[in-house]
């Protein structure tokens, strides 16, 4: 059974379903709270800043009746004095029952899980994995459409560097879905990910948003300036994939998701449309993380 949540590669479809089932049960505690995890402590080890992930882990733990210790940057910690990750984890595990860790070094959460005797949750290890994001993305899709099977989902924007879309594509390949990748040539879905999908689920690749077939969901991602050598190219690309009152016509009835924070990929006037579900998606992070915490702590009912 699940001991840690480190990478979407380790998690089976049955485990995803189990987490989602528990998340559904947690929905009723989201506003009023519960005491399932009373007396339990989450160590929230954030070696780099994060708003949504850190706050939602803390909120989830507190909704479960537990409490949280930790740091959100390393300035006032022994890490600044040169303490190794291994030593930090070995110390923090003595003060807590479960660890959520974000560290820019890739594989850091895996290492933390190997040395810690308590469960570890990867809250993002650099460009590698962010499995709880993927789990809440899948949960959002399922909640919206009742089931994932049969959906056609477009992933839009920077598909090359976005770890979110890599993990998401990987996880979706366990279901009976069809994917459409919409990106400029230079930000295509990497070969390794495409290879993984081959023989599992069908996918197509398109460059222009106006070629988009009818889809159920458009999952937009941030296009980051630093990925472009030419600033003009960045401006052109950014505008070409922006969802606003004009381009939304190309999306048909598709629900719009985004891992947030957005910069300008989705214009603010889209927020009030009923197809915009990205804030609902962020909200779903709470029941999903409550489910994960309670399963790992062994306090789920």
């Amino acid at each position: 059974m699940l001991e840690d949540i480190i990478s979407i590669r380790d998690i089976s479809k049955a485990e995803i379903e189990f987490i989602h089932e528990k998340a559904k049960e947690m929905e009723r505690y989201v506003s009023c709270g519960t005491d399932l995890a009373r007396g339990k402590i989450l160590a929230s080890l954030f070696f780099e800043p994060s708003t949504r992930t850190m706050m939602s882990f803390q909120s989830a733990m507190q909704r479960l009746g537990g409490s949280v210790i930790g740091f959100s940057d390393t300035n006032n910690t022994s890490v600044k004095k040169g303490e190794t990750l291994i030593d930090t984890v070995l110390t923090m595990e003595k003060y807590s029952d479960v660890i959520a860790i974000r560290n820019p070094l890739e594989g850091s959460a895996r290492l933390a899980a190997e040395v810690a005797s308590i469960p570890v949750i990867n809250a993002g290890d650099g460009a590698n994995q962010h499995p709880t994001q993927t789990l809440l993305d899948l949960y959002t899709m399922k909640k919206e459409f009742k089931a994932l099977d049969g959906l056609r989902i477009a992933l839009l924007g920077d598909l090359k560097y976005g770890r979110t879309v890599h993990s998401l594509a990987h996880a979706l390949s366990m279901y009976d879905v069809e994917l459409v990748f919409v990106s400029p040539e230079e930000l295509r879905m990497p070969k390794g990910v495409r290879k993984h999908l081959n023989g599992k689920i069908p996918y197509t690749e398109i460059v222009n948003l106006d070629e988009l077939p009818e889809v159920d969901i458009v999952y937009a991602t941030r296009i980051q300036k630093e990925r472009f050598a030419d600033p003009n190219e960045y401006e052109r690309t950014k505008d070409a994939y922006r969802i606003d009152m004009d381009s939304i016509k190309l999306l048909g009835n598709a629900k719009i998701m985004h891992p947030l924070p957005r910069i300008s990929e989705i214009s603010n006037d889209i927020d009030l449309m009923k197809n915009a579900i990205y804030f609902q998606q962020a909200k779903n992070g709470i029941p999903v993380r409550m489910a994960i915490l309670s399963i790992l702590l062994g306090v789920e009912r």
Partner: protein, 153 residues
């Protein structure tokens, strides 16, 4: 036995690495740091093996290989064999077995991988044997044959 003449002379004691992929003998030399070795080393490249096949051979006088060295060779030439020679006789002959997962043979090429920052052994999983593709079990990046040769050199 056939009466064909050996193109490479036999060794008295030591190790013969046979059936190395053609052209890969130099990488084997690098892995074993044989360029600094003071005893006899014989390198044969593109030797005929069978009717059409070619192979490389490396013979090293008075030298045994560690398990880690053997796995490193297997990474760049999975079909290679290692023969241990004593008094001109092969006393042990074996195909190199490359485990599905292996530890600490090579560093990860990803500078942001935790294994390049903390005291921890690297661990890889073999994704494909030919052409070689391995995945770091920490940062999950893949490395192909070229990457492996680069870090082994």
């Amino acid at each position: 036995m056939s009466t064909r003449k050996l193109k490479v002379s036999a060794i008295n004691n030591g190790t013969v690495i046979d059936h190395i992929l053609p052209g890969k003998a130099y990488a084997v030399v690098k892995i074993l740091h044989l360029e600094k070795y003071n005893e006899t080393v014989t390198i044969a490249s593109n030797v005929c093996s069978g009717k059409t096949e070619r192979k490389d051979i490396v013979k090293i006088e008075n030298r045994a290989l560690s398990a880690e060295e053997v796995s490193s060779i297997a990474l760049i030439s999975p079909e290679a064999t290692v023969n241990i020679i004593k008094n001109y006789d092969v006393i042990e002959k074996g195909k190199i077995a490359l485990p599905e997962r292996f530890e600490s043979i090579i560093p990860c090429t990803n500078p942001l991988c935790i294994t390049n920052h903390e005291k921890v052994r690297t661990r890889f999983k073999i994704m494909e044997k030919t052409p070689l593709l391995i995945r770091c079990e920490y940062c999950e990046r893949t490395m192909d044959e070229k990457d492996v040769e680069k870090v082994l050199g």
